[in-house]
Symmetry: D2
Subunit: 326 residues, 4 copies
C-alpha cells in the first residue's frame, strides 16, 4: 500500500477550510494528514522531508496566512506548487448543546471569519461580543472544553460535520454567498505536473531597481509573448520599506515555449527570479494561444535563426569576402 | 478653541501602533480621538461625519487591517488620504505585576505580532502557549482584568508607557529590528494637501478586461510620463475570483502635470478609476523630475498644440482651399 | 472671378503626373498654375507668397522628388499640408509623327519612369537605347523640337492628350498596372482643414537621442492613444550620418483629442517636432475610434481630473489637516 | 592568382561614387569589376552567379538607387550584405579642354548631384542650363564625345583622376562639405562575417497588419533586448498603397544572443521577415551591451529554464502527486 506512507501537512487545526481543501486531493484521503500551527510550520515539514506536500491558502483566505504563504515560499529553500484547489467559503454558527440562538452572548472565531459574517451577526445576534480565536476550527472545538468562556463559534461546515455534538444555530451565514478561497499544494522541486492546456505558472520576481519602467520591463516579458497574468501582488521584501518583490500567476505551463521564453526574460532582468511551479488550473479553463505565440511559431522562429547562423564560421582575417559566398 | 471640536477615529483600541501613528499628527494631540473596532468602522465615522479623519494601517501592519483598508477605501462613498505616517514597529513583553519571565505560561497578543516575535519567544519562553488577542493593546489591557486567563502580552511600547502598572519583561523583542508600518490619515474629499515636491498619489484602478496587456496599458500611463510607482497591489474585487483592481502609489502630486495627465489616461482606460489622494511622503524624499516630464514641458506642449489648433475654423464646403492660407 | 487671383505652383514641367494631381483640385482648374523646376522651388514660391499653394509628390513618385519633399518641408519656414491627392500611374509611349514602333531606337524619359516600364520595353523595343530626361513631360515635349536626339518618350497620358501632335505607340506600358503616386498640396500655416472623420495628420519628429527606446517612446505616444500610423520614414537630418528625423503620417485630425494629445506628447519628448498638417484622406476611409480614445473619453477624463484638482487651495502651513475636509 | 577569378558588380558606370566605394574593398582591387546599368542588374549578376558580390548604394546616394536597393534586396532570391563602406561625397566641375568657367552654358550630371551643388552653381555659373545625365560619370565622359551637347559636368573626383584629359574648373563644389554616402557589398547567402563587437544587422520586416501597435510590437523585439536601431525606413510593398515593409539596421551581430533572440521574435510576429546580414560597421564603433542583455545573461537564463524543465516527465494520470516529489 504505497499510499499509506505519504504525509500531507496543512495549515491547521483540523476542521478548517484548509483541511477541506486537502480533502479534495484524492491521494490525501488515504494519506497521513498533519495539521501545522502556521504556514511556515507546514512548509518547513515539506522542506525537512517530514511531509511530502503541504496545503496552504494563497488567496482570499478566511483563516489568514495568505501573505505568510506568499512570503514563505518566496524565500528559503525552494518549493514547488503542484496543484491548486478552490474551496467555496460557507460559514455556520455552532454552539454547545442546549444553547439557543437567543442565549448566545459571546462568539469566537478567526478575525477574518468574524469580519465576513457581520451582516448576519448584526441581524440575528446584534448584542454578541467577539472573542478572538486562532482559527475557526479552534473556536468551534473550544466549545467542547470545560472552561470555555464563550457560547458559540463561527466555523466551516466541515468541523460541524465531524463533531455532531455541536449544534448548528445558523447555516450559510457569510455576507458574500459566492466567496471562494484558493489553496495551493506545495512540494519539494521535482518533475513538473504534466501540461494540460489549462495550466498556471507562478513566479516570484524581485524588482531589480526602483526606477520608472522596471515593473514595466517585467510585465513586458509576459505581454510581448501573449502570456496573460491572472494575479499580481507586490510584497515588501522585508529588507526596507519600498523594496518589493512581485508574486505573479501567469496563464500557461513552463513547458510551453512562450512561457519558458518569458521565464528566461525574467531571469535576465531579475536574476533572483524564483520559479514556483506550473500546475493545472482548478477551474480547468483552457488558455487560448495566438498563432504567433504558439509552440510551433517559437519552433519555426528558432529554426529560422539557426539556419541563419548555421553556416557561421569565424572567417579569419585572411579570408577574402567574396570567397565567403562560394 | 477650534481644535477642541475636531475628532479623529483610529483602528483601536487605545495603545496600538495605530494610535501611536495618530499621535504623530500635531492636530490630533488636542483633538478627540475615538478608537474603532475595525477599519470599516473607523472609515464609516468619517463618511457619516462623526469624525473628521481616521488613521488606519495601509502597509505591513502588525494588527492586521491592511487588506481591509485597501478594500474599504476602494469602494463605498469616496474618501481621501491626506497624510501618511510611518511608525517603527517595536514590541515589548508585559506582564501582571509580580510575574517574572520564568513564570510566563500563556501569552496573548494579535496573531501578526505573535508571528513577528517568534525568535525571542523561542529563546526566552519556549514553553509559552499562545492565546489569540484581537489587538496587541487589548491583550495587554486584559492583563489588568480580574479573570485574565494568561500571564503576559506582547504589545506596543505605547501601551506600556500609558499603563505603568504593567511590568515590562522584555523590550525590542521583534524579530526584525528595522520593521516599520505605514498608516494613512483619511478624510472626506476636499482641497488637496499642498504640493511639497515630495508627494505621493494613491489610486485604485479596476482592471478593465482580462486580456494580455490590460495591466501594461495601465502601467504605461505612468511610465510614459516618467512617473515612478512605489507600491502596486492587486486585490480581488470580490465579485468573482480572477477579477482584480489595483491599488497603486505613485510618486508625485495630482497637481503636477505629469501626474494629472497620467490620471486622465487611467480614467480613459478604466473609467472606474478612483482617486484616493495626493499627500506628502512621510520620508520627505523629493521626487526627481526629468525635463521632458516637468510642468514646463507639459505647458509648452499644450501651448504648442493650442497654437496649431488656434486658427481652426470649420471651413465650409464652399470655401476654397487656397483662401484658407491667406 | 475670385479664382483668377489664386496661384498654384507644382513640380513641373506641365504634363507631368504632378500637374495631373493638381488638376484634381477643383479650385486649381481656374487658377494660375506655375510649374517649378524642383520641389524646393515650388515650396519657396509658397514661402515667399508668390504662390498660394504648391502640389508636390510625397510618396512613390515617378518623377523623383519624394525625398526632396520630405526634407524640404521638414526644415525652413513652416508649411502645412492641406490636401492629399492620389494619381494612378499609367504610362504611354509617344513618338514624333510618322515614327512607327519598329523605328524607335532611342527613348527618353525620367529615370524612374524608365525603370517602371522595363518589361514592356524589353518585349516591344528591346534594342532601344535610354536617353535620360529631367521629367517625363520634358522628354515628351523634346520630341517636338527640331534637333531632338531621340525618337520616342515615355510619359503620362496627360501630356499626350495635351499634345495631339504626338503619336501614341503604346498605352498602359507600366510594369505595375495598379501603381499610384501620392501628392500633397502645401500652403502657408493657417486654419486647419475641417475635420471629416477620415483625416490624416503629418508630423516630423527629430529623434531626441540615439538610445534604445527613443523611437519606441515616440511611437508609444501614438499607440497608447490608439492612433494608427500609415507611414513612417526615417530621414537623415543631414547633420551627420546616423542622426535621423522621422516623417510620420497618423490617422486622425489634430482637432481630435487623441491626436492632439499625442502631438503634445511628441512635443515633450522631442521639442523640435514639427506639425505639417491635418487634412482629409484621399481614400476617404473613415478612422475607427475606440470608446476609450474618443473625444468623449478624453473630455470625461479631463473633467474628472479637474474635479479632483478643482478645490485645490494651497493650504498654508498653519491650516489644520482636518479642517481641509470641511 | 586566386584574386583573378573573382568578379564584383557595381552600380555603374565607371567613375561613380559607387565604384569609389568598391575600390575601398581590398579584394576588389585585383578582381574583375563590372559596372551595371542599375541596381537590379547589379544584384541580378550576384543572383545568377556571374558576379561574386555587388556594391550598391543604400543610404543618401548621389546617383539615386537607394530605394531601388531597398526594394531589390527585400524581395526575390535571398542576398546577404557582407560589408558596408562609407564614401565622402565631394564634387568637381569638369569641362572639355579649353573651356573656361565663363564659357560654361550647359552642365550635365545626375539629378541628385545637380541638387547638391546649387549654391556653388548659383554663385559661379548662375546662367548655366541643366542637362539631365544618367549618372555623374556618364555626364563627365559624355564631354569626351564628338557630338556632346553640353560644356561641363559635375562628377566625382574619381572620374576626373581617371581621365586627365578633362579639365577641372571647380573642386569641392557640393553644398554640404561633410556629406557621406553609405554603400553595401552584397553576396549570395553563406557564412556570416565574423563577429567584431562593432557590427550591424539588417532585416526587412513586412508589417503584419495595419493596426495600432503592430509596428510597436516589431520595435519592442529590439527594445526589450536592449538592441539599438540605427536606421528604420518604411517602404511600400508595391502591392497596394498603405501596405509597408520596414527596412531596419540594428546594432549587433546575429551571432550575439540578444540579436538572435530579437530576430526570432520578429519571425514569430512577421514570418515573412528577411535577414539581410550581419557585418562590421564601417565606423568601427563598438556596440555597448548591458549586463542583462549580454550573451552570458541569455545563457544563464536558458540554463535556468532548462533546469526547471529538466526533470519534466509527462506524469501520467495514474501517478500520484506526492510521488512526483520523491
Amino acid at each position: 500500500m504505497p499510499g499509506s506512507s505519504r504525509t500531507y501537512a496543512f495549515l491547521g487545526p483540523e476542521g478548517t477550510f484548509t483541511e477541506a481543501a486537502l480533502l479534495q486531493v484524492p491521494d490525501a484521503l488515504q494519506a497521513v494528514r498533519v495539521p501545522a500551527s502556521n504556514v511556515n510550520a507546514a512548509l518547513d515539514r515539506v522542506r525537512d522531508g517530514s511531509a511530502d506536500a503541504a496545503m496552504v491558502p494563497i488567496e482570499n483566505s478566511v483563516e489568514g496566512g495568505v501573505t505568510a504563504t506568499l512570503d514563505a515560499i518566496a524565500s528559503g529553500e525552494e518549493l514547488r506548487i503542484i496543484r491548486e484547489v478552490l474551496v467555496p467559503i460557507s460559514f455556520v454558527l455552532v454552539a454547545r448543546p442546549g444553547i439557543g440562538l437567543e442565549e448566545v452572548r459571546r462568539v469566537s472565531t478567526h478575525g477574518h471569519a468574524w469580519a465576513q459574517c457581520r451582516l448576519w451577526v448584526d441581524k440575528h445576534i446584534p448584542e454578541a461580543e467577539y472573542v478572538p480565536g486562532s482559527s475557526t476550527a479552534a473556536a468551534a472545538l473550544g466549545l467542547l472544553e470545560q472552561d470555555c468562556t464563550y457560547d458559540a463559534a463561527i466555523c466551516a461546515p466541515l468541523v460541524a460535520r465531524e463533531h455532531p455534538e455541536l449544534s448548528v444555530l445558523g447555516e450559510d451565514i457569510g455576507d458574500n454567498p459566492g466567496a471562494v478561497t484558493r489553496f495551493i499544494l506545495v512540494s519539494r522541486p521535482g518533475a513538473l505536473p504534466a501540461r494540460t492546456g489549462a495550466d498556471k505558472t507562478t513566479v516570484v520576481v524581485p524588482l531589480p531597481e526602483d526606477r520608472p519602467g522596471a515593473l514595466m520591463e517585467i510585465l513586458d516579458q509576459f505581454a510581448s509573448r501573449g502570456v496573460n497574468l491572472s494575479r499580481i501582488e507586490s510584497r515588501p521584501t522585508g529588507q526596507y520599506l519600498g523594496h518589493y518583490f512581485f508574486s505573479i500567476d501567469a496563464d500557461g505551463h513552463a513547458g510551453e515555449a512562450r512561457v519558458g521564453d518569458a521565464l528566461a526574460g525574467l531571469h535576465r532582468i531579475s536574476p533572483g527570479t524564483r520559479f514556483l511551479g506550473s500546475y493545472p488550473r482548478a477551474d480547468k479553463q483552457v488558455t487560448p494561444v495566438a498563432a504567433h505565440t504558439s509552440d510551433a511559431a517559437f519552433s519555426a522562429a528558432n529554426t529560422w535563426v539557426q539556419s541563419i547562423l548555421g553556416a557561421e564560421s569565424v572567417a579569419g582575417e585572411s579570408g577574402s569576402e567574396a570567397s565567403r559566398t562560394a
